[in-house]
Symmetry: C2
Subunit: 192 residues, 2 copies
DNA sequence: GACTGGATGCTAGCACTGCTAGACAATCGA
DNA sequence: TCGATTGTCTAGCAGTGCTAGCATCCAGTC
């Protein structure tokens, strides 16, 4: 039944369109501007069509978050593998992380600030999220130091980076302090 | 004209009631539950009364944030002054910070996650916010180490604490890792 | 080739949100 | 006692996420 296959393909394609459009709209005008009406209008379908793909707006945010997690993992790995030496690698990783958040604020928010209905730190955490954490762990685990679990070290380092971006983006920290902040963080936290 | 004085007093009192009620409702049921209608009902006035005190919901959140900042500053100073030795003091400070966020999640969100329309890292930042940062600085400045500006050090340490709480509260980090995370943070970041 | 049943997408509408215009009543100064 | 001012309320607007129920269209059957 090639007809049903075609329909299935079109459905998958439309779902991609929804996620991509939501992401685009969020990056352009912020998540507040991503309403079901506007989103429906942009994909040139009526509102209820969204609900035949996703349970609700939250699930759309979740889909954007997963897409973002996969991209971030790839970006972090690319950076790490292109840098030699543990210390330099950690610095590059941190910059890559902050750079990703800075370039994709809406996606970053979908991943870590908004409720996308995703499980975390849990066995049924979606694969892309676990993988993004794994990408951090691969580089950070090297510099955890003796007697410190790589997982815990990664969590703490990650939390510091997360705090740095969110506070900076929210205007709570001056932007020009980020770079020196990263240096301080790497110098003190990472064991040579 | 004592009549006007009484009215003025009542107005101030009602404004306090609004802020306290918003805070209470937010802590009980989350900020999503704090709608202008529900808030008006709880203070036993009609909705428009809220707008005679505040420009909008955002300003109410801002008022809760300021109240929270003052409390947090006091709590941090109390902890710091009750502990001897820089290292122990920093540890106690970090625990106090995380404890405050854990006990007052809605207030913490008003301060750092939600938009309360407040200026930050700026000359016209409200006094309570500057003072909360100052309270951190007083203790953290001692352990910044040579060649590191106390202000920058405080920002980075604060960012780490902020990341730790928000990620933990959002279910992104396991709660049982917090304590070891704090120890790691203090051991590595603070210079003896 | 006409018919039918099920899938598909639409219109219309619900209950809610933040916010405001305009009517009304209470209170004040003269 | 009267007019003006102040304070509060009712009612309503435009927007939100989400859904019931109706049209339409098209694949598969006779």
């Amino acid at each position: 039944m090639p007809v049903q296959e075609r329909k299935q393909r079109e459905r998958v394609e439309r779902e991609r369109l929804i996620v991509a459009t939501a992401r685009e709209l969020a990056e352009q005008q912020g998540w507040d501007a991503v309403t079901t009406r506007r989103l429906a209008e942009r994909i040139e379908y009526s509102q209820p069509v969204l609900y035949s793909h996703f349970r609700g707006k939250r699930e759309i945010i979740g889909a954007v978050a997963l897409e973002g997690a996969a991209e971030m993992a790839a970006a972090l790995r690319a950076t790490a593998s292109a840098t030699d030496g543990p210390h330099a690698r950690v610095t590059a990783l941190a910059r890559a992380y902050l750079g990703f958040a800075e370039r994709n604020p809406a996606v970053y928010d979908a991943m870590f600030q908004l409720d996308g209905g995703l499980a975390f730190a849990d066995e049924d955490t979606p694969e892309p999220l676990k993988d993004a954490f794994a990408a951090l762990l691969e580089t950070l685990g090297e510099v955890a130091g003796d007697g410190v679990q790589p997982g815990l070290f990664t969590e703490v380092f990650w939390a510091a980076l997360h705090g740095l971006t969110t506070l900076t983006r929210a205007g709570r920290l001056p932007r020009e302090d980020t770079e020196r902040g990263v240096e301080l963080l790497v110098d003190r936290l990472a064991v040579a």
